[in-house]
């Protein structure tokens, strides 16, 4: 137990990335003149800090805005509002050219590595492109760098000349990882990076991600819907619901004493890989509400088993209930089981 605690201790070191009131709305257009009739609020007022060398998990149901958050940080989606500070520099207002310097430091690993590789380009050449874009290496230097990369992620030199279809899912994800670490980044966003893989291969890739993290002192934003993987992999966890942050805390705190009823329900809903009959479970009723027409007050009140009148009217504030354990709920800490 002691060993696990020290290994998962929150590294409250230097802040690498800071988000301040991030908002991303997608306009809904309609009518003859295609006027904006409303907004889908994909990410609503997210603020958090990411420390150097830590893994922050982001969990939530599909449509809760976790992927949009990742894309917004990388600048793949334009922000509606908010501030992103990376290494003490506000990056959302930088010019394209200045931004390039930071882009190198922030990378992303996608869910479907096959979709992100050109099927008609050899893997070696696809990886060389990274160096062509960002460095002045000669072609022999590039080839050597790519082969080093392939070996780093557990592939072999012979894979250089192969095409994407010749690789299995796990190998393709390794290529995605090789591409992401090519330029020595300090921050990588993993968007459901292991979700499409079989469990045995998933475990291999998770181990690889951990090894690389230790070697390069990387920070991860680990977007996933699999709470088992998040518990194994991350130091802290952020829970999102309908674009809102509902809870943030260390893995221990969040999994052992979840404050928000949604987190409690989410944890209770996971099928456990152990046989135990008659486990007490909370079943949430209904589906996620439509993000274009979110409920008033607390976004979760329509499905919350302990919702009161106040939840329908007032939006709960984002508060630090215990040290480093945040939640947005009027009745935070109340058990719903």
């Amino acid at each position: 137990m002691a060993a696990a605690l020290t290994s998962k201790k929150i590294n409250q070191g230097k802040i690498l990335l800071e988000l301040n009131g991030i908002k991303k709305y997608y306009p809904i257009r309609g009518g003859v003149l295609q006027r904006v009739q409303g907004n889908v609020k994909a990410v609503e007022n997210v603020s958090l800090q990411l420390y150097e060398g830590e893994s922050l998990g982001v969990v939530g149901e599909s449509g809760c805005g976790k992927s949009t958050l990742g894309k917004a940080i990388l600048g793949l989606e334009e922000l509606t509002d908010g501030k992103i500070t990376f290494k003490d520099t506000e990056i959302q207002s930088l010019k394209r050219r200045e931004k390039l310097k930071f882009v190198k430091e922030m990378q992303m690993i996608f869910q479907d590595p096959f979709a992100s590789l050109n099927p008609r380009q050899r893997i070696g050449h696809a990886l060389e492109e990274v160096f062509t874009m960002h460095t002045n290496m000669s072609s022999s230097e590039k080839k050597k760098a790519v082969i080093d990369l392939l070996e780093e992620v557990g592939l072999k030199e012979e894979h250089f000349e192969r095409y994407p279809h010749e690789f299995s899912g796990g190998q393709r994800q390794r290529i995605g990882i090789a591409r992401a670490i090519a330029l020595n980044p300090s921050f990588i966003i993993c968007d459901e990076a292991v979700s499409a893989l079989d469990v045995s291969v998933q475990a291999q890739v998770l181990k690889l991600l951990k090894t690389i993290q230790e070697k390069y002192q990387l920070s991860y934003l680990f977007i996933s819907h699999d709470l088992g993987v998040v518990r194994y992999f991350c130091d802290r966890v952020l829970v999102m619901y309908l674009g809102h942050t509902v809870e943030l805390g260390s893995v221990e705190d969040l999994f052992n004493q979840p404050l928000h009823p949604y987190t409690q329900a989410l944890l209770s809903a996971i099928p456990r890989p152990t046989v135990q009959k008659n486990r007490k479970r909370i079943r949430l009723q209904g589906d996620l509400p439509n993000p274009a027409d979110p409920p008033s007050g607390c976004p979760f009140h329509t499905r919350c088993p302990i919702a009161q009148d106040i939840c329908k009217q007032d939006k709960p504030a984002w508060k630090e209930h215990e040290s480093n354990h945040f939640a947005a709920c009027h009745f935070a800490g109340q058990s719903i089981i």
Binding site: A3, E61, D198, V199, A203, L267, A269, P271, D287
Partner: protein, 332 residues
């Protein structure tokens, strides 16, 4: 419980490909009793879906059952003509697929698709079928069922669509329900709802359920018995307690160790090295040998037979032959 519903004996399912006959399922046998849930687990490409498709007779046109028997309540349904199969399918044996969006017809209303099996198999009139359809939607927990009958699949959420699929599958009170990864495309909260629903309906209708999945968590939740497949072969079978608490085959152990447990902060993740061999690969001996840390000379030369650990628990691994405390091997 007790009465045997389905019996599959030594089936071999082959695909005709450019490289010759390709066996995807190699000599698999299992049986299912009424009111029982059997989970088939394994990695993608291990033949678990093909096994279930062989049972219901929905193999792709280049695939066929090359040998073996599939008996449903004693009837040899593998010999049935396509017309005979069509009468059974959706009636006595139903299937739920992974992706409800691709399994529902996007240009027909929910009502039309629900009425179809009822009018076809149960010979109900349109009015009766509508009434029964609304009842079914209520049963699977869909709010405003009257309204849903006139809606199209795209108007429903993923969880709702899966519920509609279940309603259609259950419309004729089937004796056997085959669910191929029914919750893989869904979120955990919705997944929990659907698993509960299948479990409740199983009890209500006393159905046999075959659930194909790769999620060990789902297996632990719903299964009575578990069959583990690897590269087209059954490697281990047992009750859910036997498989999770006393797994015998190194592959089963590996699978269980690669799933991070949410409740265990000290969990040590152990990956199985390598990946599944291709179907073309000619392997002498055990098919798992290249990824197995216990592989010996014997594993590379001889294929392990099925060893019985208990009445309900079998494993195909040479480790079980070495005088296990209660390992009474039949073939040795």
């Amino acid at each position: 419980m007790g009465e045997t519903l389905l019996e599959v004996k030594n089936i071999v399912t082959e695909f005709r490909t450019a490289d010759g006959q390709l066996p995807a399922v190699r000599d698999v046998s299992f049986s299912l009793k009424k009111g029982e849930t059997l989970c088939i687990v394994g990695e993608s490409g291990c033949g678990k879906s093909i096994t279930s498709l062989s049972v219901i007779g929905l193999l792709p046109s280049n695939g066929k059952i090359a040998s073996g028997e599939v008996r449903y309540q004693g009837e040899p349904i593998h010999q049935y003509s396509p017309e005979q199969m069509r009468k059974i399918r959706g009636n006595k044996i139903s299937m739920i697929f992974q992706e409800p969006m691709t399994a529902l017809n996007p240009v027909l209303t929910i009502g039309f698709q629900l009425r179809e099996p009822l009018m076809l198999h149960l010979k109900l009139s349109k009015n009766e079928a509508t009434k029964k359809g609304i009842e079914l939607l209520k049963q699977v927990g869909i709010p405003y069922p009257e309204k849903r009958m006139n809606q199209y699949p795209h108007e429903l959420s993923g969880g709702m669509r899966q519920r509609v699929m279940i309603a259609i599958a259950l419309s004729c009170n089937p004796g056997l329900l085959i669910a191929d990864e029914p919750t893989t495309a869904l979120d955990v909260t919705i997944q929990a709802q659907i698993l509960d629903l299948i479990n409740d309906l199983k009890h209500d209708f006393h159905m046999g359920v075959i659930m194909v999945t790769h999620d060990m968590g789902v297996v632990a939740e719903v299964a009575d018995r578990v069959m583990v497949m690897y590269a087209g072969k059954k490697v281990e079978e047992g009750t859910v307690e036997e498989i999770f608490n006393h797994p015998k085959h190194p592959y089963t152990i590996g699978l269980l160790n690669s799933v991070p447990n949410v409740d265990d902060p000290d969990f040590v993740l152990e990956a199985i090295p390598g990946s599944l061999p291709s179907l073309h690969a000619k392997i002498i001996g055990c098919r798992f040998q290249d990824r197995c840390q216990f592989a010996s000379e014997k594993c590379r030369s001889q294929e392990p037979p099925e060893f019985h650990i208990s009445n309900t628990h079998t494993a195909s691994c040479w480790l079980e032959s070495e005088g296990d405390s209660n390992g009474s091997s039949l073939n040795f």
